[in-house]
Every structure is written in C-alpha cells, then in structure tokens.
Amino acid sequence: MAFGVSRHSVAGMIGTLAFFGAWEALSRSGFVNNVMLPAPSTIVQSAWELILTGELPRHLGASLVRAAIGFLGGSALGVILGVAMARLPLLHGTINPLVQMFRAVPSLAFVPLAIFWFGIGEMSKIVLIAWGVFFPVWVNTYIGVRDVSPLLGRAAASLGARGWRNFAYVVIPGALPFIIAGLRVSLSVALVVLVAAELAGAAFGVGYLIQMSQQVFRVDQMFVGLIALGAMGFAADLLFEHAVRRLLPWYGAEQAGQKGP
C-alpha cells in the first residue's frame, strides 16, 4: 500500500523534526546549560568549521584507514583459519581449544594490553581491530564450510568436480552466505574496537577527537564526533549490502543465518 508507506514516512519525518526542534528549543531556553547540551544548530556549525579547517577529514581519514586495514587483516585471517580448520580435523583438534579460549574474552579487554605492547600508534589499533574482527569471521566461516551440503558436493563430483575443484566450486560458494554473515557482524565490531582503542590513547582519529573535545569542554565537537562515527557505520553497512547484492544476486534468497558454534 503506497498510501500507508508514505503516511509512515511523513510520520517519521514529523517525529524527527519534532525531536530536533524540541532539542533546539531546550538548549536555547536557558533551562539547561547550553555548553552541556549544545543546540543542533550549534553542532552543525561546529561540524562545518571542523570540516573547513580540515580537522574532521583528517580524524575521519585516520579512523577509516585503521578500521579498513584491521578489518581486512582480521577477516582474511578468519576466513583462512576457518576454512583450514573445517577441512583439516587435525588442525581443528590442535588449535580449537586455544581459539575458543581467546574468543571467550571480550576483545575490548585487550585494549590496555595492546597499548602496553604496541604503543599508542597505528599498530595497536590495527591489531586490536583485527583481533576483534577475526572471531566472528572465523566462527561463521568454520560453520559454513563444515556444514556445506554434502549433497551438493556429490552432485558436483558426479559432474566431474572432485578434489580441489569440488572445494573451489562448491565448498567455498556454499559457505559464502555464512562468511558474509560473519563479515557483516565484524563490520560493527571493527567500529566498536576502533573507538575503544582511540579513546584509550591516540594522536588522531574520531575517538581521539571526542576524547580531546571532552577535555576542553567542547560538547558540540563531541557530538560532531558521534555523528561522524554513526555516519561511518551507516555508510559501511550500506556499502557492504550494496556490494553483496551486486556480486551475489542469489544471496538474498538463501536463508543464511548464524548458528552457534
């Protein structure tokens, strides 16, 4: 029903406008300290200034590069080890207890240790993000490869795909929905770990911007940082979804899910 949809979107618009209008009014009313709660218009203005000075792009760029390298590194390792452990029972038996042990520890708990070991430079952040990203990708890849339909494997074998070709043409595509589910979870994990690592000590980055702004009582700039992070997460998810839909048109129809390990 087109009418219902448009009515909903109008309602959503009114709700959003009312929220920001009330916020604006509250900040200007004098009932609350407008340093503690800056008006949306003030925040937009500071954002614009931060963009013009090049400060925001610099922080955002630094955060993006870290997140991207950490995400790529962690997910590559997760996929490789997930595939290897699903295919090589001996390897699985050897290192599964270790991986499970480390997986049980929340990755944010490693932030202080990583900074102690790798300093507050790029290394500690990338390692932490890769660490956090690794586990969901690993779990999903492992399950996806392990549970690939043996019937499809048989079908392929009876069509001449045995050995490594069975692996390349059936096992990997068959596991792809799970791998993608793991990657999607990891996208938000990467963002969380990124911010935690930057808050704990950095010379650049959106997390650092928020931290610094707090110390100089620039709540407006803290909000700018929050918005930048939200935009980053939103854009990453959108981009990911778009890429999946373009590259794997069959994916949406497959009911891929996450199962417990």
Binding site: R154, A156, A157, L159, G160, A161, R165, Y169, P173, W250
Partner: protein
C-alpha cells in the same frame, strides 16, 4: 600389433553397461548394523530404461549410490562401462530427489557445470546448454537462479544438467516424488522422449508403480531385510503407454502383488 586388439573397443558390443556381482552393503555404526543390500547380482544393457521399485528401506538408494560411486560397497563387485566404479564420475549422471542445483549459479550455469569441469570452451558450453534448456522445455529460463524457479522447473534443470556431459548412465533417485501430478506426468513424458532420442541407459528409482510402468523398459522389484531383487520384468508395453490399457493393469496387479501391496478390489 595384433589386428584383433586394434579393433576391439574398450567396451565390446553386447557387453552389459552395468555388472553387479554379489553386491552387498551393510551400514555399520556403533548401535547397530543394517543389511541394506544382501547379495545382488545384476546386469543392465546399454539403452535400457530400468525402474527400481520397492518398499521403503529395501536398499534402492543404497544401490544407486553405489553405482554413482558415492558409497563404497561392503562386498561384491560393480563395473560400469567395463571399469570398476571408483568414486563419482561424469560418466554417470545423477538426478537427485531434492534437485541439488547449485543455488549460486544460474540455471544455464548449472547446466554448463559439468562441461566447465570438462574444460569445454564457453561458446560450446552455451550452445549445448541452450539446446538442453530447449529439450526440457525451459528455453527462456537460463538466466534465472534456482530460487526463482518452481520445483518442476528445478527438476528439469537438474535433468538437463545431468544430460549435458552425455553420460552413458543416468541415475535418478525418486526425481519426481515431490512434484504434483500434472508436472510429474509432463516430466515423465519428457524423460521418455529424451530416452527415445538420446538413448542413455537410465536407472530410475521410484515408489510409484504407475510411474514405473509408464517409463520403464525393464522393472526391478526389491524387498527389504536384506535388500534383494525379487522380480525382474521386461515391460514390453507399446509406447505411448496408456494407463487404461488392459495389459497395463495386468502388469500393475502383478507388480503390486510382488511388492506386497493389497490391490484395490
């Protein structure tokens, strides 16, 4: 060189395509042993259309899986086309009950899969796939993914896929069981037509006596515990077969008795 050796083809004319000698299989897993197949000896000639009938659990799927190379028999000897069966091969096409199409490939790419594995050129693959899609009555559905196809369409794609590499043997395990009566009878007609044109040897497992009598040139009836052959009948009904023909009903009654069905009075 001896001239006689030179003219001898690997499979001599008249030699059966399939030879099973005292084939037996036992599923053995911790809690118990199931004698899925007792001791089956069987030969099937090239071009035969064999239907295998029998009650649930009599070893039909086991027999088919052994012939396909998916299951290694506990004892006995299987030869297909003069070679001992050693794992699956594109010489033996399989059509599964649940279609088992690759969901990540389009219908056409599914049909081309075996050709791709055989290293055939893209152009040639496309031509063959196009012909086969036409043969199974889906000339315009090649670009669709399996999730966009109905059950009957998927089954036709699965048949086209199995035919693409021109296997000498087609193994089909209750391929039409999940389909509605209309789709089923149209696919039966298609399969009979394919068999008439291409002359593959077909081993077709079914629960349905009527289906078997419509399709088969030979009918094998099995019984369980242990799985064994109890009847082996040549079906010489003229084609196209009419289900109302008296001879059809005669054979139907006979087979129904053989598998222990109480026939309707």
């Amino acid at each position: 060189m001896n001239a006689r050796v030179e003219i001898a083809s690997p499979i001599a004319v008249g030699e059966p395509l399939i030879t099973c000698i005292e084939l037996g299989h036992v599923y053995d897993f911790g809690r118990g042993r199931t004698a899925a197949l007792g001791s089956i000896s069987l030969t099937i000639d090239r071009g035969e259309f064999v239907c295998v009938l029998g009650p649930s659990g009599c070893g039909k799927t086991t027999l088919l899986n052994i012939l396909a190379g998916f299951v290694v028999p506990a004892h006995g000897d299987v030869r297909v086309g003069g070679h001992a069966v050693d794992g699956p091969s594109s010489e033996r096409g399989v059509v599964f009950q649940d279609y088992s199409l690759f969901p990540w490939l389009t219908a056409q790419a599914n049909v081309e899969f075996g050709l791709r594995m055989a290293g055939r050129a893209a152009r040639e693959r496309a031509t063959i796939a196009h012909d086969l899609l036409g043969l199974v009555g889906l000339p315009d559905e090649g670009a669709k993914y399996p999730f966009e196809l109905s059950g009957g369409m998927k089954q036709r794609i699965a048949i086209a896929r199995a035919l693409a590499t021109r296997p000498s043997l087609l193994l089909m395990d209750e391929p039409f069981a999940a389909l509605d009566a209309m789709t089923r009878s149209s696919l039966q007609a298609k399969l009979v037509e394919i068999h008439r044109q291409e002359r593959p040897t077909i081993l077709f497992v079914t629960h349905n006596i009527t289906e078997a009598l419509v399709l088969a040139s030979r009918l094998i009836v099995m019984a369980p515990n242990p799985g064994r052959i109890v009847e082996d009948i040549r079906i010489d009904l003229p084609r196209p077969r009419r289900r109302t023909a008296p001879r059809f009903n005669e054979i139907y009654e006979h087979v129904a008795r053989a598998i222990g069905l109480e026939t309707a009075e």
